[in-house]
Structures are given as C-alpha cells and as structure tokens.
Amino acid sequence: MNILVCITHVPDTTSKIQFTDNNTKFDTTGVQFIIGPYDDYALARAVELRDQTSGKLTVLNVGGAETEPTLRKALAIGADEAIRVNAEPKDSYFVAQQIAHYAKEGGYDLILMGRESIDFNGGMVHGMVGEILGMPSFSPVMKLDIDGTTANMQREIEGGKENLEANLPLIAGCQEPIAEWKIPNMRGIMSARTKPMNVVDPVGDETQAEAKSYALPPAKAEVKLIDADNVSELVSLLKNEAKVL
C-alpha cells in the first residue's frame, strides 16, 4: 500500500507564544519545533500499516527549509521518503492545493493527516484535499484498519463515536488512540540521513484567508484562594461575584 502522511512543523506544546514585528510575525526565539502531535499519531499508524502491507510511506510538508529537521525526524520514525513543498504555508486553502497536487501525482491509496494543526487549529486541510481530489475524507479518526481495499474506521463524535466503512483511496485526519507515538531509535536516525528528501516547487499562489496580525489574550488576574474549611464561601463567590451558578 502506498501511503502519504502530511505533517506540520509546529511549536512544541509547551512553547510560550509571542509575536514580533508589530504583532505581524510569530516569534521563534527559544521555540522548539516538533511534528504536530496529531500528525505524529497519523505517522505512527502509517508506519504500522506500511509494515503490515509492505508498501511505501511518504511524508510531506508544505514549508520552508527550516522544516527539514522535522521531516528528517519523520524519516527516522519510519517514513521511506520525504517531500517538502518549498513555500510558506499561508492558509489552509493554499496548503490543500499543494497537497492535492502532489498527492495526485503520487497516486496514494491512503492519505493520513492530523486531526488539526496545533498552530492554526483549523482541522480543515484534510477535508479540502478530499474535495479537491474527489476522495472521501474523515476526521477525527480514532481507529483505522485496512482489509484489502476497505477501511474500517472509528470516528469521534460529540459524546461518543461512530464506526464507519469506506473504500480506498481515502483521507483520514487522525487522533489518539489510533496508534502510540513512536520515538525514533538509533537505527532509524542513522538511516534517515540517506533517505530521499525531495524539494519541489509550489503550484499556484492563491490564498483566501490570510492572518494579518496577531494578539495575545489579556493577562489573567491573580487566583483567589479560599480556605478548605470554608467551601460555602466559594459557592457564594461563584454565585454573586463570578455569576456562573
């Protein structure tokens, strides 16, 4: 089976978010970048499925040269080759167009993505790619098994889950517990150095919804501590001060 996994290059989940240039640019000072946590789930499941079916696994990122270490990490985790579409990922529409173009060229049976990126949190790219390619798309997918050309999936819905059956090729936006995050081992890291990293040019430049400026939420006021022996005071504060009861 020929599998494509699309990964984002995003600030580590513990990063302090700040902006520069008059709040028009993300401040990367001191920020560590990682594979998006949901993309990491997608990648982990893709490695398992590739191993089961002895197919090929490609990872793709739309981003500048700075994302290559992140793609290398995906190769170390088990992908066979990487594609970097050399362009700034300006909005989900632009990214979806890039992925759709290269996905079509690659003729993949299965395209896995994360449920959402953790920078812009749109959760939109998989659906857009699906519509552009005329392929079914599902998200958030918590379980995915392949039986011949049929996929059996479990999707999270509000307050529960639904089980689904669909034919390949398809696209899934993944989340736990689809697989456990994989940590690259020494052999993986060594072999990743020689695996292909293909840098390709973007197609088109249309964007639809670009971020123009950024802002941080207002600082939180100091917590009010209430004595453990005086819980009724908390109840009264919730009722009369916070007005949430």
Binding site: G127, G130, E131, R155, E176, A209, A211, A228
Partner: protein, 322 residues
Amino acid sequence: MSVLVYIEHADGQIKKTSLEAISFAKGLVDKTGEGDVVAVALGSIESAALAKAGSAGASKVMHDPNDKLSAGVIQAHASAVASAFKQTGAKTVVMAKSSLADAVAARLAIKINAGLVSNVVELPNTDGGYTVKRSIYTGKAFAETSLATENKILAIKKNAADLITDGADAQVEQFDAGVADSDFAAKITSTDRATGDVLLPEADIVVSGGRGLKGPENWGMIEDMAKTLGAATGCSKPVSDIGWRPHHEHVGQTGIKVAPSLYIAVGISGAIQHLAGVNSSKCIVVINKDPEAPFFKAADYGIVGDAFDVVPKLTEALKAEL
C-alpha cells in the same frame, strides 16, 4: 442577502451550539443591515422543533427530511449545504464547530469556492474590508484574518455570540437537496453515543478530574458534583490513557477544547497542554492539594486541599445553595 446557517440536531432538538450560530448570523445581518438568517437542517426531525430556530434569530429553515441524511455522512452533508447555498443565493455560511461541522465546512469551502475561517470568536469587522478574529495556538493567541473571497464560511467557536431567545418561530420549508447516491458511499455501520448526559463540548459547566483522584473507583464524587450542577464530566489525558475514563472526556491540547462558564478542575496539575483545552472558560476553579500546582496560575478561584475531603463538602454546599 441571506446568511445561511448549517444547523445540527440531536435527540429531536436543534443543538444549542447551532442556535448560537444562528444568533451569530443574526448579529452579522443586523450589523451589515441587510438580509436575513436562513438555517439549513438535514435528516429526520419534527418541523415544530425546527421552528425554534426562529427564537435564536432565523427567519426561515430549509429542511431536507431525507432520512439518509439523518446520520452525519460528511460528503452528503457538504453537498446538501452547497445545494441550499445555491438555492438561497447566500454569500456567507455560518456554523458552530463540531466534529461533523468541521469536516463539512472544509469540503463545502472547495465546493462553493469560499474562504473559510475556523475558530471565529466574534463578529467580523466589515468596515472597509472583511477581517475575522479567530483563536489560534489552541487558545493561546488570536489572529486577525482577512478574507479575500466573495463567498465566505465562518466556523465559530463556542461563546462567539450571545444566544438570542426572544425571536418568533421560523417558517419551515421543505427542500430537496438532491444529494447523489455516490455521496453516501461511506457507510456508518454503528454509533455509540452517551444519551441523556450533558455533552462535554457544549456544556455550560464542566467538572474534571485528574490523576490526583488515584483511580476510577473515586469518580463517584466527581459525578455527584457534576450532577448537582447539571455539568458534564471531563478528565486529563493520562486519566483517559490509562482507561479510568472514556476517551471522549479527555480535555486539552490533544483532546476536547471546552469553553464553559465554569470549569472545575480536581486533582489536575495544570500542565500547559491541559490548559490549552480550557483557556476559553469564563471562570476556572482549581482544587489541588499542592499549593504550587501550576493550575492555580490559570484559576480564578482555588482551594488548596485534599480532593477527598473538599469535593464532598463542596457538593453538599452546592446542593444547599441550588
């Protein structure tokens, strides 16, 4: 020009988040001073229940009662909304984020060539351009996003609008979205959904427990408090990872993002990944025996104490008050 709102329903009623989306759309119409709000509903539901869309600000509901649309088949819903969009001649679609709406919005954006903004937190700014404020970095920041397209889709976050409740009943009109069989190719073979419980993503109050509760057998007191408050229950990631609680209760960066009026966290340390899922709450109460627990920095009210002592006492005090 009409603003179209894709609404969802469960257990025979329009979902509260969808009613909020209608009120958001009404706010948009009032702001621009033109048009009205038309809701689109799919699948089996009584007309009387749909007419209630009016109370939130809709003047009309277009309803395709095709029972095949009752299950939320993503492609079929996207096609049906696209068809309603064309029939009404609307330029803007509003919907409340959900696991179905997100998937539908993305496909719809391509179908109708619309610019799409997700996690919208307030009405767009329409003076000389069109910019929308959305939440990014999992609630840690906001982005002003400019929309360049004629057609637009806004997927709104909970609390983006105040619910209007004083509108008159809406007129319900049946329509045929003409969804092709091929859009039903994916088969939903079964659904497993807690009914009757307050759903976590929509809950107005959430009581959440963490690893500090020591084991699943101790969740009785969390459930008691939740029941007293009419709240939904949530948990931290390790708690659902170990299987103490079901996965759909996991709150945080990699779980459900909640935005209740009141979030009560018991025995949760307040790791940054957990906070990312709760930072849109209006009021946060933290109960933790460790005064240094990071969660206190994100809290409005806190009690330093042993959960096994504090929680039952607090539930009693709440019962006495409510």
